[in-house]
C-alpha cells in the first residue's frame, strides 16, 4: 500500500472521530466525564500519528517523495478511486508543494490545539470534534477532484459550527450561524461556478476519467491539463470571456473564506465567540483554505482571467490589508483585534497574488504557512487571557508581566511575530511581498502610491499591537488591583499544557523565521513550476501587464 493519504490522513481521523462521537453520545453525563480523559489522550495520540506521517513525508521516510521539482499539475501520492462513476467523480488524492505545507500545518496544529485546550469542558465530545475538523481540513488540501474538494470544503463547516455553538462565548448562537451561512453562501456560488466549469468540457471527445452519464470529469489534474490546451482556432480552450465569469464565481467563495474586505465580517464574530481550539484551527488552517483554493483552482485554471482581474485583486488585497489594520486600532476587544489582524494578513496574501510574480506568490504561500503558525498562538494567548481573566477587554488586566509572566511572554512573542518582526516566520513573507509588489509596480509603470497602503499597515500594525500590549502586559504596578472579573481570586498564570503549546508554537515560529527555506524552498519551487508550466506559456507571449 503506498496510498498514504486516503486512509491514514483523511479516513482515519474522520472515522475515528465519528466512532468516538457515536460511542460517547450513547453514554450518560457522568460516564462522559469519566471518558473525557481517555478520549483526550486517544485524540492526542491519533493526531500525533498524523503528524508523524506528514513529518515522515517531509523527510522522505514515507514514499520517498521529494517536494521539489514536481512539475506543474503533477502530484505526489496521486491515487484515484472511482467514486461516482456516472458523474465522473473520483476519490482522487495527491499532494504537491502547494498542498503539502498546508497538510503538514494541519497535522501540526491538531496536537498543539489539543494540548493548548487540554482542559476544555465536555472533553469527551470536544476532542473528537477537533479530530474530525482536522480530517476534514486535510481532506480539502489533498482533494484532486472538484466534487471531493467541495465536499470537504463544506464538511469543514460542520465541526467548526459545533465548536463555536457548543463551546463558544456568550453570543455563540449568532456567531456560529453567521459563520456557517456566510461562508456557505459564498461557496454555493462557487459550486455553481465549478459545475459550469465542469460542463465546459468536450463530451464528444471526453477527457480521461469522464463520467458515463455526463461525459465530463471532475478530476482536477485532467481539467487543469485541459484548460491549457489550445483548440483548433488557436484560442485557449476556455475562452477569455467565460474564464472571467468562472474566475469571479470561484473567487467569491475563496475571498469570503480568506476573508477579504468587504466579505470579512463573519470572521470577527466567529473568532470572538469561538472557543480557543476553534479559533486556533479557524485562523490557522481554515482561512488558508481560501488562499489554497485560489491557487489550486482559479489561478491554475484561468490565467487570462487572473490577468484581467489583477487590478481588482490588488485593490481588494490592499483594502483588506489597510482596512483590517485600521479597524484593529479601533478595537477594544483583544480577540476581535487579533481577528481583524488576520484580515489584514490575508490581505498580504491577496496582494502577493496580485503581483503576478513568483516571489509574490511564494510570499503568499509562505504567509499562509507562517500565519498558520503565528495566528494559533495569537488565539491561544487570547484564549488563555479569557480563560484566566474572564474578560476579553483590552485593559481589563494590566501588569500581566507581573501577575502572569508566562502569559505575558507568550503574548509579547506572538504579538511581535504577528507584526512581522524579522527572524520570526511572518517577516519573510512580508518582505517578499513588498519586494514583489514594488517590482511589479516598477515593471508595469504603475503608480508608486500603491506602496502607501502596505507601508501604512506596517506602522499601524505595530501601533495596535504595541498599544494593546501597553494596556495589558505593561503598567499596573502593585497598586493596580487584578480585574474585577476575577472576584478577588488570586491571579493565575497559564497552566502547564498551555505553556507547552505556547512553547511549541514559539519554537516553530522561530524555526521558520530563521530557517524559512525549510518550507519556502518547496513553495518557491512550486511557484516556478506554475510559472513555467502555466503562466509563461499562456501569458508570456502577449504580456502587456494590466
Amino acid at each position: 500500500m503506498d496510498d498514504w493519504i486516503s486512509m491514514p490522513l483523511v479516513g482515519f481521523p474522520l472515522v475515528a472521530s465519528i466512532v468516538l462521537l457515536a460511542f460517547v453520545s450513547n453514554t450518560n453525563e457522568s460516564m462522559r466525564r469519566r471518558l473525557a480523559n481517555p478520549i483526550r489522550m486517544a485524540t492526542l495520540v491519533f493526531s500525533l500519528v498524523l503528524l508523524t506521517i506528514t513529518t515522515g513525508m517531509f523527510f522522505q521516510y514515507f514514499g520517498n517523495v521529494s517536494w521539489e521539482g514536481i512539475s506543474f499539475n503533477n502530484y505526489e501520492f496521486l491515487h484515484r478511486y472511482t467514486w461516482m462513476e456516472s458523474l465522473g467523480i473520483h476519490w482522487s488524492v495527491g499532494m504537491d508543494a502547494l498542498s503539502f505545507p498546508m497538510v503538514w500545518l494541519t497535522t501540526f496544529l491538531l496536537p498543539v490545539t489539543i494540548i493548548a485546550t487540554w482542559n476544555e469542558k465536555n472533553g469527551a465530545t470536544y476532542f473528537p470534534i477537533l479530530l474530525a475538523m482536522g480530517g476534514a481540513l486535510i481532506g480539502v488540501f489533498v482533494s484532486l477532484d472538484l466534487f471531493m474538494f467541495y465536499v470537504f470544503w463544506e464538511l469543514t463547516l460542520i465541526p467548526m459550527f459545533f465548536l463555536i455553538l457548543m463551546w463558544g462565548g456568550a453570543d455563540r448562537k449568532y456567531a456560529s450561524q453567521k459563520f456557517f451561512i456566510y461562508t456557505f453562501t459564498a461557496s454555493v456560488v462557487m459550486l455553481l461556478g465549478l459545475i459550469t466549469l465542469y460542463f465546459f468540457q468536450d463530451p464528444v471527445n471526453p477527457l480521461d476519467y469522464a463520467g458515463s452519464m455526463t461525459g465530463r470529469t471532475f478530476d482536477i489534474p485532467t481539467i487543469t491539463q485541459h484548460a491549457l490546451m489550445e483548440n483548433s482556432n488557436g484560442n485557449w480552450y476556455l475562452g477569455a470571456n467565460i474564464q472571467k465569469v468562472l474566475f469571479a464565481m470561484l473567487m467569491l467563495g475563496f475571498l469570503v473564506k480568506l476573508p477579504a474586505v468587504p466579505f470579512h465580517t463573519w470572521l470577527p464574530d466567529a473568532h470572538v465567540q469561538a472557543p480557543t481550539g476553534g479559533s486556533m484551527l479557524l485562523a490557522g488552517v481554515m482561512l488558508k483554505m481560501g488562499a489554497y483554493g485560489m491557487f489550486r483552482l482559479p489561478i491554475s485554471l484561468f490565467p487570462h482571467a487572473l490577468q484581467y482581474f489583477q487590478l481588482a485583486l490588488l485593490i481588494i488585497g490592499m483594502v483588506s490589508l489597510v482596512w483590517g489594520a485600521i479597524v484593529c486600532l479601533g478595537q477594544t476587544n483583544l480577540k476581535k483585534m487579533v481577528a481583524y489582524s488576520s484580515v489584514s494578513h490575508m490581505g498580504v496574501i491577496l496582494v502577493g497574488i496580485a503581483t503576478m510574480q513568483p516571489m509574490g506568490w511564494a510570499a503568499a504561500l509562505f504567509m499562509m504557512f507562517a500565519h498558520g503558525i503565528i495566528s494559533p498562538m495569537l488565539f491561544a494567548v487570547c484564549g488563555a487571557f479569557k480563560h484566566h481573566y474572564h474578560s476579553m477587554e483590552i485593559g481589563a488586566m494590566r501588569g500581566m508581566a507581573k501577575h502572569s509572566p508566562w502569559l505575558a511572554t507568550s503574548m509579547m512573542f506572538a504579538w511581535m511575530a504577528s507584526l512581522g518582526l524579522p527572524l520570526l516566520a511572518g517577516f519573510v513573507a512580508e518582505i517578499m511581498m513588498f519586494i514583489a509588489l514594488w517590482h511589479f509596480l516598477a515593471a508595469e509603470g504603475w503608480s508608486v502610491f500603491w506602496m502607501v497602503g502596505p507601508a501604512l499597515v506596517l506602522a499601524v500594525t505595530a501601533a495596535y499591537y504595541l498599544w494593546s500590549m501597553q494596556r495589558t502586559i505593561f503598567e499596573g504596578g502593585d497598586e493596580t488591583q487584578p480585574p474585577s472579573s476575577l472576584h478577588g481570586e488570586p491571579v493565575p498564570d497559564i497552566a502547564n499544557p498551555e505553556k507547552l503549546a505556547m512553547l511549541i508554537l514559539a519554537f516553530f515560529t522561530i524555526v521558520f523565521g530563521v530557517m524559512p527555506w525549510i518550507a519556502l524552498d518547496m513553495m518557491h519551487d512550486w511557484t516556478i513550476q506554475i510559472f513555467e508550466g502555466l503562466i509563461l506559456p499562456v501569458l508570456g507571449n502577449f504580456n502587456g501587464g494590466a
Partner: protein, 748 residues
C-alpha cells in the same frame, strides 16, 4: 547575481567562527531567559551568577575577542569584500519580468568586513562588554531589580547580538533584520520597569517612532533591490552595477537612498523622529548608556555611512547632492534644536539624551558634507580631492567613535551618580520599600558638589563632557573640528550648505554651554540638598568601565595621530602605514591649529572660542561655584571648579528673564513637538480608526445585517400573505390559473 556565491579566500581558520560573534549572544539570550525563568530567586542564581550577568559577561568577552581577532585580520590587509564563510541561501525565490522565463533571486546571509565594519564592530563589542560590567554593578545592587535582572541580561545580550549582526551583515536586508531586532530589544529594555505607565508608553513610543522610520527604510530597500536585483553589498557597491543603474535610474536611486535615510533618522533620533529618545530614558541607565547613546543610535549613522559608495561612485557624479544636503540639513536642524532643549533640562539623563541627539546630528551633518564632497568632487582621479573626501568621511566616523565612547562613559557616570543619589536617599530616609515618593534621583536639583564624593565618576564625567564639547586635544575635538571645517568647506561650494554649517558652529557653542551646565550643576558648587550631601562612592563594577573609558577618550589624540580619519574612511590608507605616531600627532595638530588656509585657520579658532570659551563661560557664570567647605576635589578637577567659581562670581548674571520667556517654556516642553504628535495620534489616528471600526460594524457588517433583517421582514410580509382564510387561497389559485394560462398562451 550575488545569489548563492560561494566563499573565496579564507584567511584564518578561526575566521570561520566570525558568525559566533552574533550567535553566542543570541544563544546566551535563550539560556539566560530560560534559566532565569526556572531558577528565579534561587540564591546561587542570584549571588553567584548575578541573575545571568555572569553568563552574559564571558559571552560578551568572547564576542569582543573574536571581534578583535577579526579586526586585526582586517588590519593585516584582509580586503573584506569577499564573504568569510559559505553564504546561507536564506530565501530563494524568483521574479518574472514579462518575458518567457523567470529569473531566480536569492537572499543570503553572509559576513562582510570593511573599514566601516571594523570600526563599528569594535565600538559595539567593546562598549557592550563594558556596559555588561557596569550593569552588574548597577542593576544587581538595586532592590527594585531583584528577581527580574535575568530579563535585563537576556534582552541585553540579544541586543548586542543584533547590533553586532547589523554591523557584520553583508547585505542591507540583514542589516534591516538585525536593525529590527535591536528595535525590539530597545522596546523591551525601555519597558523594563513595565509597571510604570511612563515606561510603558515610552517603550511604545520608541518602537513606534522608529517603526515609522523603518517603514521608509523598508521601502527604500525594496526600491534599491529593484534597481540592483540584490541587496548584497558586494552587488550594490559594484562599480559596474552602479554604472548600469546610474544610466537609467539615478533619480530612483536617490529616492531609495532618501527613504532609507528616513529609517536612519528614526533610529538615530533625528528631527522629526527624535521624540522617542528622551522618553527612552525611562529604561535602566545601562540601557540608556548602551542603546540610546553608544550603539543603537549609531545604527542610523552606520546605515548612512554604508551608503557612501553610492555617493562616491563616479557614475553617479553629481546625482545625489540633494540627498547629501538633506542629510546635512537634518543634522543641522537637530543639532541646534536638541542642544537648545538640553539647555533647560533638569534631568541628568535627559540632558545626555538631548546631547546624544545633538551629537548624532553633528555626525549626520558631517556625513552629509562628506557625501556631498564625494559626489561632486572628482576624487577618483584628483588626489587632493581624494584627500578631502576621505578626511571628511573619516572625521564623521571618528566623531562617531569618540561620541560613542564618551557618551557611553557619560551615561555610565550619570548612572553611577543616580545610583548613589538613590542609595543616599534610601539611606537617609530609612525607606525599606522601594517607593520613591516624589524623590527624583535623576534630577540635578538633587545633586551638586559631588566632585569630592565621587572622584572617579566626576573625572569620567569631566573628560566625557570635554570630549563632547570638543575641548582642544581631548577626544571629540579632533573629529568635531573636522566636521565643522568640512561643513564650511562645502558651504563655500554650495551656498545651501551654509545652513548646516552655521548650525554646527552654533551648536558647538551650545554644546559647550549645556555640557558645562550639567557638570557644574552636578559636581561643582554646594550640595543642593541633604541627599546630595550623603552620596558615597560607587562599587568596583561601576568604576572599572568608567576608568577604562576615561582613558580611551583621552587617548583619542593617539588615534588621531594614527590617521584614524584616513583608514577609517578608505581601505587605501592602511592602519599605521603613513607616519609614526608622534609625526601623526604633530601633523594633525598642525592641521588643526595652524592651517595653511586662512579661512580654516580662522574657523578653527572661532569654533574653539565658541565651544571651549563662550559656552562653558556662560555656564560657569550661571552655575559655577565652590564645593562645600571641607570637601576637596581631586587635583585635576580643582582648577575647573575654582575657575567656575571665579567666573560665577565675576560674571554672574540673572537669567530669570530667559527662564520665564516663552522660548524657555517651549524648550521645556520640547518645542511642543511631542504634544503635536500625541494630538495627531489621538485625534487623527485613533479617531480615524475608531470611525473605521464603526464603519466596519455599521456599514459593512451593517449591510449583512440589513440583508438579514430585510429578508426577515420580507419573510414576515410573505407569510402575512398566507392569511389563514381558505377563500384567499382559492383566490390565489384562481389568479394563478389565469396567469399560467395567459403566460402559456401568450408565449406561444
Amino acid at each position: 547575481m550575488a545569489g548563492t556565491e560561494v566563499t573565496t579566500t579564507v584567511h584564518s581558520e578561526w575566521m570561520q567562527y566570525a558568525p559566533l560573534i552574533i550567535l553566542l549572544p543570541m544563544m546566551a539570550f535563550a539560556v539566560i531567559l530560560f534559566l532565569g525563568r526556572v531558577f528565579n530567586g534561587h540564591p546561587f542564581w542570584k549571588k553567584n551568577l548575578k541573575e545571568g550577568g555572569l553568563i552574559a559577561l564571558p559571552v560578551m568577552g568572547a564576542s569582543l575577542i573574536l571581534s578583535l581577532l577579526l579586526i586585526s585580520e582586517f588590519l593585516k590587509g584582509y580586503s573584506g569584500v569577499e564573504d568569510i564563510f559559505e553564504k546561507i541561501a536564506w530565501v530563494n525565490t524568483g521574479i518574472w519580468n514579462g518575458g518567457s522565463t523567470t529569473e531566480s533571486v536569492s537572499f543570503g546571509f553572509g559576513i562582510y568586513v570593511d573599514h566601516v565594519t571594523v570600526m563599528l564592530l569594535f565600538v559595539a563589542s567593546f562598549l557592550c562588554l563594558l556596559i555588561n560590567v557596569f550593569s552588574i554593578g548597577y542593576m544587581n545592587t538595586d532592590p527594585i531589580n531583584d528577581n527580574r535582572n535575568h530579563r535585563f541580561y537576556a534582552e541585553f545580550v540579544l541586543f548586542c547580538s543584533g547590533m553586532l549582526g547589523m554591523v557584520l551583515a553583508d547585505s542591507f536586508l540583514w542589516l534591516f533584520i538585525f536593525w529590527e531586532i535591536m528595535g525590539l530589544c530597545s522596546y523591551l529594555l525601555i519597558g523594563f520597569y513595565y509597571e510604570r505607565p511612563s515606561a510603558a508608553s515610552a517603550a511604545k513610543k520608541a518602537f513606534l517612532t522608529t517603526r515609522i522610520g523603518d517603514v521608509f527604510l523598508m521601502i527604500g530597500l525594496v526600491m534599491l533591490w529593484d534597481l540592483f536585483g540584490s541587496l548584497d553589498y558586494a552587488v550594490v557597491f559594484d562599480t559596474h552595477n552602479i554604472e548600469m543603474v546610474a544610466e537609467s535610474s539615478a533619480g530612483t536611486l536617490q529616492w531609495a537612498l532618501g527613504l532609507m535615510f528616513i529609517g536612519a533618522v528614526g533610529k538615530s533620533a533625528q528631527f522629526p523622529l527624535h521624540v522617542w529618545l528622551p522618553d527612552a530614558m525611562e529604561g535602566p541607565t545601562p540601557v540608556s548608556a548602551l542603546i540610546h547613546a553608544a550603539t543603537m543610535v549609531n545604527a542610523g549613522l552606520y546605515l548612512v555611512a554604508r551608503m557612501f559608495p553610492f555617493f562616491g561612485a563616479e557614475a553617479l557624479h553629481g546625482d545625489l547632492d540633494d540627498l547629501a544636503f538633506i542629510i546635512a540639513a537634518v543634522g543641522g536642524i537637530t543639532a541646534v534644536m536638541a542642544a537648545a532643549i538640553a539647555f533647560v533640562q533638569m534631568d541628568l539623563k535627559k540632558v545626555l539624551a538631548y546631547s546624544t541627539m545633538s551629537q548624532l546630528a553633528y555626525i549626520f551633518t558631517g556625513l552629509g558634507c562628506a557625501m556631498y564632497l564625494a559626489n561632486t568632487l572628482d576624487w577618483h582621479h584628483d588626489s587632493d580631492a581624494h584627500y578631502i573626501v576621505i578626511v571628511a568621511f573619516g572625521a564623521s566616523l571618528f566623531h562617531l567613535f569618540n561620541h560613542a565612547m564618551a557618551k557611553g562613559m557619560l551615561f555610565m557616570a550619570s548612572g553611577s551618580v543616580i545610583h548613589e543619589v538613590h542609595h543616599a536617599h534610601h539611606h537617609l530616609h530609612h525607606d525599606d520599600d522601594h517607593h520613591d515618593d516624589d524623590f527624583d534621583a535623576q534630577s540635578m536639583e538633587n545633586m551638586g558638589g559631588l566632585a569630592s564624593k565621587m572622584p572617579i565618576t566626576a573625572t569620567a564625567m569631566l573628560i566625557g563632557s570635554a570630549s563632547i564639547m570638543g575641548l582642544p586635544l581631548i577626544g571629540g575635538f579632533w573629529s568635531k573640528e573636522g566636521i565643522i571645517a568640512n561643513a564650511w568647506r562645502v558651504a563655500q561650494d554650495d551656498p545651501r550648505f551654509l545652513f548646516p554649517a552655521m548650525c554646527v558652529l552654533l551648536g558647538a557653542a551650545m554644546t559647550g554651554f549645556y555640557m558645562s551646565r550639567m557638570w557644574l550643576k552636578t559636581f561643582a558648587g554646594k550640595p543642593n540638598n541633604e541627599v546630595a550631601a550623603h552620596v558615597g562612592p560607587t562599587n568596583i563594577w561601576i568604576k572599572t568601565p568608567l576608568f577604562i573609558l576615561t582613558f580611551v577618550t583621552l587617548s583619542s589624540v593617539l588615534l588621531a595621530g594614527m590617521g584614524f580619519t584616513h583608514w577609517a574612511a578608505d581601505t587605501e590608507y592602511s592602519f599605521l602605514s603613513e607616519k609614526n605616531i608622534i609625526d601623526g600627532i604633530l601633523y594633525e595638530m598642525g592641521h588643526a591649529f595652524a592651517n595653511s588656509d586662512s579661512f580654516f585657520f580662522i574657523l578653527t579658532y572661532v569654533a574653539i572660542f565658541l565651544g571651549a570659551i563662550v559656552g562653558p563661560g556662560v555656564a560657569m557664570a550661571l552655575y559655577g561655584g565652590k564645593l562645600a567647605d571641607g570637601e576637596h576635589a581631586k587635583p585635576w578637577m580643582r582648577p575647573v571648579i575654582r575657575l567656575s567659581a571665579w567666573v560665577n562670581k565675576r560674571f554672574h548674571f540673572d537669567n530669570t528673564a530667559f527662564r520665564e520667556s516663552s522660548l524657555a517654556t517651549a524648550l521645556e516642553n520640547r518645542l511642543y513637538i511631542d504634544e503635536y504628535y500625541d494630538k495627531a495620534m489621538l485625534n487623527i489616528v485613533a479617531g480615524f480608526s475608531t470611525k473605521v471600526a464603526e464603519a466596519d460594524t455599521e456599514v459593512i457588517d451593517g449591510t449583512i445585517k440589513a440583508i438579514e433583517s430585510g429578508s426577515q421582514s420580507l419573510s414576515t410580509f410573505v407569510r402575512s400573505l398566507t392569511t389563514g382564510s381558505a377563500r384567499d387561497y382559492i383566490l390565489m389559485v384562481a389568479v394563478g390559473t389565469l396567469i399560467i394560462s395567459l403566460l402559456i398562451w401568450g408565449v406561444a
